[in-house]
Symmetry: C2
Amino acid sequence: MLSIEQIKYFLAIVEYGSLNKASQYLFISQPALTKQLSLLEKSLGCSLLLRTPTGIKLTPAGRYFYERCNLIMETINETIKQIKSFDKENVIRIGGLPNLITYFLPKYIEKLKMMNYEVYIEAMHTNSQLINSVRNGFLNIAFVSDAVQESDIAIVPLVVEPFFVVMSASHPMVKTEEIDFLSVVKEKLILYKAPCPIRAAIRNHCSLMGVTPNITLELELTESLINYVEKGFGITIVPKMVADSMSSQGVIAREIKKFPLHRVVSAVLKKDCVSSYKSLLFDI
Amino acid sequence: MLSIEQIKYFLAIVEYGSLNKASQYLFISQPALTKQLSLLEKSLGCSLLLRTPTGIKLTPAGRYFYERCNLIMETINETIKQIKSFDKENVIRIGGLPNLITYFLPKYIEKLKMMNYEVYIEAMHTNSQLINSVRNGFLNIAFVSDAVQESDIAIVPLVVEPFFVVMSASHPMVKTEEIDFLSVVKEKLILYKAPCPIRAAIRNHCSLMGVTPNITLELELTESLINYVEKGFGITIVPKMVADSMSSQGVIAREIKKFPLHRVVSAVLKKDCVSSYKSLLFDI
DNA sequence: TGAATTTACGATGGACGTAACAATG
DNA sequence: CATTGTTACGTCCATCGTAAATTCA
């Protein structure tokens, strides 16, 4: 049976290039290491390295196994590190939608570090992933957009912010005095693919107003909307905090004034934790 | 010390919902399981599950650990599966660029299966990844595009194929009788980001002819060029075998007749393996 | 001969099982 | 009292270390 010890031994052998040196590093005798290595090879049914009088040399299978062992050990070590933080009092795990993490969380994180918390940050792309992580205890707090109330979990509204249109500087709409939502959704829209809370908010606003958005391009959640706007493929709609922090030259952000839509940024936390985190959330 | 056995035990406990049932499934006594579980929790410094008279209930840390254990075991099992195939005589590992895998390999694979080989397929995005995999023995054969000869490895040319332009049906160039490369690269080009052998071939052809391609959109290697052509963002250039197998209605593929460019599809293999795979590569 | 790995074998400790115990509904 | 999990203790096998053997430069 493969064991973690054997994996560690194998990694040491490869890294030190000899059983001898590896055995010294591992504080075991060299015969013991030989034994474990042959047991490992036997259990895998495959030769991993060639023994030479000058040291060892990896076989193809050995090279593959070495890479995989590194991956396995990294996964295990990361797991142990996370787990060890779970029962520590001064650790707080915070999650949020990527744009909230980027633009909104920094001030909270500063404050938490002042209070001697170790902070773990985790970005997730959907509200439901985040809410579930709070529910099952992986996150202490999650920051979401337009979440609906649920019975078992507290959703605390924090800010309401308007949406902005982002378009290239040469776009005719730049000259319009008061930008309205109905004109905006007739333009070529670039949005993220579902599931994306902003996309959902726009669709919802559209159906309330009885129009269909003209979505011409749908991006993966990992790509940058602004890049595509800059290249002239269309316009996009982003929340104020994203618009505020844009630095691109070629694009312009303008608030949607007529028939505006807003999003509510909320904190999600367990009901019995609301009181303990209340001061953190509001005293800013 | 964390061990793989402990991970397996923990997974069984969670899945069976009780130490009792898990111990039966694992063919060990229930006290032994209790012992291992408490050792695990002690080594992690963290409680993983709450014991109740009706069974067990996961703590947040336990839920996290459960997910990670699944990931770890999947990684380990996949590794063992791959390794076991390494020294088997009847296993052959083949790699290739994604489009070669999709359009070109199937006939080889059929043939290999006829010959009672177990075939492992691995797609990689660059020639150099593939060539390295052959060099270090992870792959027996790799199919690449426009590879240059290297001293230590054999590169066997297999087919030369022309490139096609892909454009929307309404594009003016559809009406041109003889499509030429110089006009094509003046159009809005959609290509994959570097590193991409096709992109490299196009850039190379351009610099030979003293022109600059008008690349307006660069996609991630995981996205579909054709989708973006269909939506009217520009045109693209693909090898014949990709063009031949397109089924989209809205787009049309036409061969580049004037100043054409070609790609050479080659098989990469170790020099001392050429003779043994020769019949496979050419007898089709 | 010296540097490497492998084989042989006795010692030790960790993991197991049995049996007895404790708690909950 | 039936089901759950825990504690106690003796047994046994896996892994270790020491020492001797082997192989290659």
